[in-house]
Amino acid sequence: MSHDEPLLAIDGLKTHFFTREGTVRAVDGVSLTVPRGKTVCVVGESGCGKSVTARSVLGLVDEPGRIIDGRIAWQPGAGEPVDLTTLDPKGERMRRIRGGEISMVFQEPMASLSPMYTIGDQLIETIRLHLPLGKEEARDRAVEQLRRVGIPRPEERLDAYSFQLSGGMCQRVMIAIALAADPALLIADEPTTALDVTTQARIIDLLRDLQAETGMSVLFITHDLGVVAEIADEVVVMYLGTVVERGGVDEIFHDPKHPYTNALLGSIPRMGAGAGRRLATIRGNVPHPSDRPAGCPFHPRCDAAIGGVCDVSDPPHIVFGEARSVRCVLHDDGAAVGGDFRVDGERA
């Protein structure tokens, strides 16, 4: 890649939902970047705003949600970056970006395909929407795409319906559709959550191979740290609509700085960790975004919380390097404090 500018740079994104019960700040000031050719994983518990962040990129936030602040700079080529938040979500420019430059794969592969049309119909439709191909050429390309994602006998499969395929096969089809027009970025929104474990592994392998083959970037959303370890170049940890920590995959796994990251890592079950031990959990639940705690959103569940500080003022944003930052008062002096504190479970 010739230039250093990131492919996608989200800066201070705020997506709020204006419901009758009040405003829900689902995404509240998220900043992250996706470098060219890299895989960035967004991790966090359910309800922390990962999916809304992903959908905001493509302008797919449903009513009553709205992007109210922030920039999403998209720079696929050498030209000026486009701010995706300024595009009309129903307009032609956004339509061409969707599926053409940025593609998305969803959580439920079965439900993401219309049962009324063959998969070939939906695949060819996408190809012809974005590439100037005739019917026959598009069909050939569709067969080629299906073969590329590892679907056996692709010519026959073109005429199959989604309900005739397994979940794993459907997800492969979704990936084929997503990659049909050679997008520069693939957003995968928990693409393996609904699949069984062996299928998960195969889909992850497929995504990694395809990424290596095409050189595209991947924004991968998951709550599964095992997947993160396998696929990520960089990791973004989210909690309640904010990014609490950012860093390279090794830094995050070996030198977590935020207590939340630490706690997440502590709650991964490990082989050989010793029989009879309880798995560490993070106490409490993610509060609903509509009643976010004051100060640091994590403080009610944080073992290292400092009374009078964490529950009063917003945590500072501390930058350690170009792609490494954390939002926690514990690192306010700039010194390396990491490792001094642990959650209960890990000490055991």
Partner: protein
Amino acid sequence: MAHTTAGTDAATATDSGPATDTDAGTDSVTGGETAARGDDRWSSASQRRLVWWKFRQHKLAMAGLVVTGLVYLIALFADVIAPFGTSTFDAEYTYAPPQRIHVDWGEGLYVHGYTSTVDEETLQLSFEIDETQRIELGLFVKGEEYELFGLIPWDRHLIGPVDPDEPMYLMGGTRTGHDLFSRIVHGTRVSMTIGLVGVAMAFVLGVVLGGVSGYFGGRTDMAIQRLVEFFMSLPSIPLWLGLAAALPPGWGPMQRYFAITTILAVIAWTDLARVVRGRFLSLRNEEFVTAALLDGCSRPRVIFRHMLPSFSSHLIASVTLSIPAMILAETSLSFLGLGLQAPAVSWGVLLQDAQNVRVLSTAPWLMLPGLCVIITVLALNFVGDGLRDAADPYKR
């Protein structure tokens, strides 16, 4: 799981909670990492409460509830509200036009009397409102005696002429010289109860057959489904007509009433059976049912304590929606002369008088019972719709 202690509020704790799930439903609830969250008022309320809160937001449904309540009150107190009994008539006043109630602050309520003229050729009576005559009206006046609720003898009527022999036709007179207003009020009884009684019968049939079908599945389900499909594929009115025509002509009003209600119920149960079956089928595979079974609950207990409460509100909604259909069916049957017959009074029976244009053009008020049907059916439909929307208070 919370469901093992079931009851009406069983589903409250584990469903994703009443507050909006802003991740647009894409972040699935994995392994209990998310549980009841949000404010306590919602999460601690019983399901019945939640349904009521949701229902109250539905303005049309609330209006419908008020109207329905009023109509049933009228049915209950028909004897008091109607100025005259069902058998009182005065042949001198056939097709008498409706009178307007006037208020005189000194003397109270009054209506004007009639002067009638007979057409020399056709011998038809025609009426003029005579402004010079005043017929004094009173509230809770003495009139015909009746027994309130069939028990308490009384003779007061909500409104009526002070002198019971004076003519009062607030909604006009019928072909026989009955007071239409009184007849409509009395007809409320039959028209409104036929819905309730019929639906009660259909409910028992529908719930039992639908429940059996949905719970046991397999061959039983197959057989019952064929039966339901058979009943649904029949055009109901010809069938009703056929059955109603076969009723012995010698039967009294009571026997006819129950026979007609039964005929209506025999065909109306299919809808309820389908609803119940569908719910049972979808619930059968729910985890809380499996959990209850694993906990050693007996089958009846699983059905009645765990499954039934979780869709009782849907059931109530379907029942409410089938009452108006029943009322319409009775009205149609009676209108055609094959349902209830005079001396029984129902809105449909009253509409029999309004069969042809010539009568309608001289006495358009004979369509008023139809208006009552429309208002009542609309109100019940609104209530049913509101209930259906509120039945699932966790969904939005």
